[in-house]
Symmetry: C2
Subunit: 265 residues, 2 copies
């Protein structure tokens, strides 16, 4: 595996955790922050060595990520950071556009005064980060803003699903990085959302978030080149050499349907 991709390691409050948990959190963080690039292979022994743990916790963490669809599984069982195709990104965005507004709606009645000031602070953090051109800090502020709301929804199942979606979305931003200027075009509506939430107007706040997600999706789709745009396989297919694109095909369902290689009886 790509060792250098592991070098982020924001060691924080990780003491007292199970090694399973520790491995999972570090891998998760690597995924959401975009430290892992699409296509990176994550082998058990590889992440074990990179994280300084034995294979057992690494194995557990990878299986958990696979179960959450945060990583894909090759037929051999090796985990690989998903390559988001154009269709895949559209699907991901459509799901987010349903679930995250729901969380906002549920959160509206539960937000406290303290939450509002914290949210306002995160908007300020976003603005200063944007002024300084620090892409990483911008994303962090936005993410914290939204997840503070999502947590307030007091809907653990929903929160887990949303976390899953962000895990899957992360690698895309790793691919974006360097395409720098791209992010400049994206505006958020967090100010308006906060204003609505202050008035306990959950429905309008949800609608605002939904349109924010849809706008961002359209922008990214029009700006970014996806993995399945104009690949070698596709060019060949256009010529007529191939009619199926085995490389581009999305794994069916959870891609957990692997057959076993013949072993003892």
């Amino acid at each position: 595996m790509n060792r250098s991709a592991m070098a982020f390691l924001p060691v924080s409050e990780e003491e007292g955790l199970t090694l399973d948990e520790l491995a999972y959190r570090r891998l998760s963080r690597a995924l959401v922050t975009g430290a892992m690039l699409p296509g990176d292979r994550l082998s058990i022994r590889g992440v074990a060595a990179a994280l300084g743990v034995s294979s057992m916790p690494a194995r557990t963490a990878l299986q958990r990520l696979a179960a959450e669809q945060a990583v894909d599984l090759l037929p051999s069982g090796t985990a690989v950071v998903p390559r988001l195709t154009r269709a895949g990104f559209a699907e991901l965005s459509a799901i987010r556009a349903e679930l995250e507004p729901l969380a906002v709606r549920l959160a509206a009645p539960h937000l406290t005064e303290a939450d509002w000031t914290r949210l306002a602070a995160l908007i300020s953090a976003h603005d200063t980060a944007r002024g300084a051109g620090e892409a990483e800090a911008i994303q962090a502020a936005d993410r914290d803003f939204l997840f503070l709301i999502y947590r307030a929804a007091q809907a653990p199942l929903l929160l887990g699903l949303i976390e899953t979606l962000w895990l899957r979305r992360g690698p895309l931003f790793g691919a974006i990085r360097g395409l720098s200027g791209a992010l400049g075009g994206m505006r958020h509506r967090h100010g308006e959302i906060l204003a609505s939430l202050r008035e306990r107007a959950g429905e309008p706040a949800a609608a605002l978030l939904r349109s924010e997600i849809e706008e961002a999706t359209r922008f990214i789709q029009s700006t970014l080149r996806f993995e399945d745009d104009d690949t070698a396989a596709e060019r060949l297919a256009a010529i007529g050499q191939l009619n199926a694109h085995p490389l581009d095909r999305e794994p069916t369902s959870l891609s957990h349907h692997r057959r076993r290689r013949s072993r003892g009886t």
Copy 2:
């Protein structure tokens, strides 16, 4: 663990699978069909023995189910079939009401003539099962009807999420069983949905499914006694002995945040 709960075992096409997969599938099936009751403990060695495999596959399968939130984890790490509280059920239903209609919308353009006839057959199967009063067959027919559509959406991520939700919902129906007559009051709208889909009218079909889910939810909420209704802890709290309900509290997020017990530093 409850050994007898394992006795269903619809061994079918399970050859050639990884032992991990086999264990996972059997447990999944036990959950969705309602064979497992809320509160059942699933220990690693227990399911290993019940499934006739070693602990390793059992462990993997349980961790995977935990990652999908299909089971909860006690602080000790033991998996337990979730007890759906009233709030939890409301949350689950709200999520379903967002995601499943989305799947219908996405599926509409992809359904073929063959799908339509298969769907019509499943509606018939539902009706005859209802006539015979076979609750199990009714549920199976409904489930197959919906998932045939969901699969046609060609949205693997979405399909995985929906499967997760059904996994979580399963145990509730195990609890319902015996309350027999309860199901009699539930009507579905699959006929109307199919009619809409035949006309490629995805949006109306989605709206129909949404209201079907909402109706069923309201019905169940008004009919069923939930685990958190009138518990001992709640009665005590009413008296003023307790103000917090540690027993009823939902685990935060994925409940994966367990602290490690002190071991070698």
